[in-house]
Amino acid sequence: MKGRLRNSSALWLGLLAVVVLVLPLVVTSRFAIDIFIRVLLFAFIGVAWNLMGGYAKQLSLGHAAYFGLGAYTSTILEIKFGISPWIGMFAGGVVAMLASLPIGALCFRLRGPYFAIATIATAQVLMLLFLKFRDFAWGAEGTTIPNLGSDPLMMQFDAKAAYYYIALALLTAGLVITHRIERSWMGYYLVAIGEDEDAAEAIGVNVQKIKRDVYLISAFLTALAGTFYIQYIYFIDPNTAFSFNISVEAALVSIVGGIGTLWGPVIGTALLEGTSALLQSWLGSSLGGVQLTVYSLILIAVILWRPTGLFGLFTDSYARIVHRKPVGARQAVVDG
C-alpha cells in the first residue's frame, strides 16, 4: 500500500514537472508569462519564509530585509564593480545570512507578537537607512539596471521564458531544501519548537541554535529572490527592495496555502496571484487597493474557517476520491 501511494505521488510530480516545463512553450502571451513568473517567485519567497514561519512558527513580518539586502548587494556589485548578478546573487545571500545573525540574536529572544513587531522594525530600519545614505546606494531615487540587451552571463535575457526557468529553478531548489529539512532531525526540532518552545528546550532541543540555523537558510533563499526580482524589473529603490508588501506576501501565501507544509506556499501563491491576475484583467490596473482587499478577505476567511491552510483541502479530497474512504481512515490506509 505504502509503495503504491509513493508511486502515485511520484507520478503526479512527474506530470507536474512536464506541465511547468513546457508551459512557456505553449503559452506565449507576455501577460500570462509575467503572472507565472510572479507566482514562481512569490511561491519561492513563501517557501523561504515557511521554513522559519511555518515549521518553527516564528512569524516574521520582516523578510523584506533579506530580499532588499540581496537585491542591493548584487546591484551594487554589478553597477559599481561590473560583477555578474549570478555571482552577486550568492554574495547577496551571504550578506543576508550575516545580517540575519544579529537580527536573529535580537528578535529570537521575543515571542509571538513581540517577535513580529521587532522583525517589522528591522526591515523598516534597513529601508530608512538605504533612503538616507545617498552616496552609498543611490538613496530614494534608486537606479535602473543598465540594459545590455541579451546577455545571459549578466542575467539579462530577451525572452521572458528565460526568467520563467530561473524562477522555476529557484522554487524547485527551495522545495527540495524544504523537503530535505522536513525529513531530517532539524525538521522535527523545528516542528517541536513550533508546537511548544519551552517543552522543546526541556527535552534537550537547542532551541536558539536551531532557530538561528533555519533563519540563516531562510534569509539566504529570500536574498536570492531579491536579486532575481531586481534583475527582472531592471530597477531598484529602497521602497521596492524593502517593500513591506514583500514581507506581508511571504507570510500570506504560506498561511493561506498551509503553514508548515511543503506545498502550502505554492498553493497559496497560485491562489492569491491567480485571483489578483483575474481581478486585474477584469477591472484594469486602475483600481489601487483591490488586490490587497481581496487578499485580506481571503486571509480572514482562512484564519476563521481553515487555520491549517487550504493545502489540507486538496489532500483530504484527493484521499477521499482515490481511496473512497473517510478522511479519518487515511492514516490507516497509509500505514497498512
Binding site: 512558527k57 512569524l59 513580518l61 535580537l106 528578535c107 529572544r109 521575543l110 515571542r111 509571538g112 507578537p113 513581540y114 513580529a116 513587531i117 521587532a118 522594525a121 528591522t122 523598516q124 530600519v125 530608512l128 537607512l129 533612503l131 538616507k132 506581508v248 507570510a251 498561511i255 503553514i259 483600481l287 489601487g288 487597493g289 483591490v290 488586490q291 490587497l292 482587499t293 487578499y295 485580506s296 478577505l297 486571509l299 480572514i300 484564519i303 476563521l304 487555520p307
Partner: protein
C-alpha cells in the same frame, strides 16, 4: 539653542498626547484580551475620515465630531470583539496576529478604494493660529488635541479605578480565571475593553483632523509609534503607555530637529529595538496598572 530645544520638546509632547491615545488603546486590548491589535492605526484613520466627512458635508467642527466618532468606533469595537476576535482567542499566535493584521490590510485598502489616496484636510479657524509664550509657540489645534487627549486618558484611568466595570476589567486582565469565579462575565468585559480602545483611536483621529491630513495610510505612523510606546511602557500597562508615548513624541521631535527631517522614524525604531534587546518586558514591568 536652548529655545530650539525647548520648542522641540513642546512639539514632541503635543504630538505625544495623540500617540498616547493610540497606545493606551493598544495596551488596553493587550492587557484585557491578550491580543496585539495590528489594526489600531486603521481605526485612527477611520476616525479621521468620519471627522473629515462631517466637516466637509455638514460643516461640523472636527472637535465636535468627537461626539460621533467615539460612539461609532465604540460600537465597531464591540462588534469586532464579538464577531472576529472572540473566535481566535486561545488558538495560538498565528491566527491571533494575522486576524487583526488582515483587518488592518483590509481597512487600509478599502479606504484606498472608497476615498482614493488623496490627502484630505479640514480647515478650521484655529488650524493656523498659535499661542506665544516668550520665544516659544504652541499651535492651538495641537494644544487642544493634547489637552483633550490627556483628559480622555484621565477619564479612562478613573473608569478603570473607580467604577465596578473598570475594576472588573482590571481583574479580568490580571487573573481571568479568578475574575470569572467572582462572577465577572469575560465576554462582556472583553467587548467593553475593545470598544473603549477603538473609541480612543476614533478620538485620536478626530483630534488629528484640524492639523493632520487624512489618507488611507495615515494610521500607519501612529500604530508604529504606539507599538514602540506600548513595548517601552510594558504591554498591558496603561500608565506606562501614556508616559512612554510622551517620551516617544519628544524623542521623535528631537530626532527631526537635531538629526534631520527624515530621522524621526529611525530614532523611534532604534529605541524599539534597543528596548526589546535590553528590557523586553518594558521599562515599567508588571501587569496592568
Amino acid at each position: 539653542m536652548l529655545e530650539t530645544l525647548a520648542q522641540a520638546v513642546i512639539n514632541g509632547l503635543l504630538i505625544g498626547g495623540i500617540y498616547a491615545l493610540v497606545s493606551i488603546g493598544v495596551t488596553l486590548i493587550f492587557g484585557v484580551v491578550k491580543i496585539v491589535n495590528f489594526a489600531q492605526g486603521e481605526f485612527v484613520m477611520l476616525g479621521m475620515y468620519i471627522s473629515f466627512f462631517l466637516a466637509t458635508y455638514f460643516g461640523i467642527d472636527p472637535l465636535l465630531s468627537l461626539a460621533v466618532s467615539m460612539p461609532v468606533m465604540f460600537l465597531v469595537g464591540v462588534l469586532l470583539q464579538h464577531f472576529l476576535i472572540r473566535r481566535v482567542l486561545g488558538l495560538g499566535d498565528m491566527p491571533q496576529i494575522f486576524l487583526t493584521f488582515a483587518l488592518s490590510l483590509f481597512l487600509m485598502n478599502v479606504a484606498l478604494l472608497l476615498f482614493t489616496a488623496n490627502y484630505r484636510t479640514v480647515d478650521t479657524p484655529y488650524s493656523d493660529s498659535a499661542l506665544y509664550l516668550g520665544p516659544l509657540y504652541f499651535p492651538v489645534a495641537k494644544l487642544i488635541a493634547f489637552v483633550l487627549a490627556m483628559t480622555l486618558s484621565g477619564v479612562l484611568w478613573l473608569f478603570l479605578h473607580a467604577t465596578d466595570l473598570g475594576k472588573a476589567m482590571r481583574a479580568a486582565a490580571q487573573k481571568p480565571e479568578v475574575a470569572m469565579l467572582m462572577g465577572i462575565n469575560p465576554d462582556r468585559v472583553f467587548c467593553v475593553a475593545v470598544g473603549i480602545s477603538l473609541a480612543l483611536a476614533g478620538a485620536a483621529g478626530s483630534l488629528l483632523m484640524p492639523f493632520y491630513p487624512a489618507s488611507p495610510m495615515a494610521g500607519q505612523t501612529f500604530v508604529l509609534m504606539a507599538f514602540v510606546a506600548v513595548v517601552l511602557g510594558t504591554l498591558g500597562n496603561v500608565k506606562g503607555a501614556l508616559i512612554a508615548s510622551l517620551m516617544m513624541g519628544v524623542a521623535e521631535s528631537l530626532g527631526i530637529q537635531f538629526v534631520g527631517a527624515d530621522s524621526g522614524l529611525i530614532v523611534v525604531f532604534l529605541m524599539l529595538l534597543l528596548t526589546l534587546a535590553f528590557r523586553p518586558s518594558g521599562l515599567a514591568g508588571g501587569a496592568m496598572r
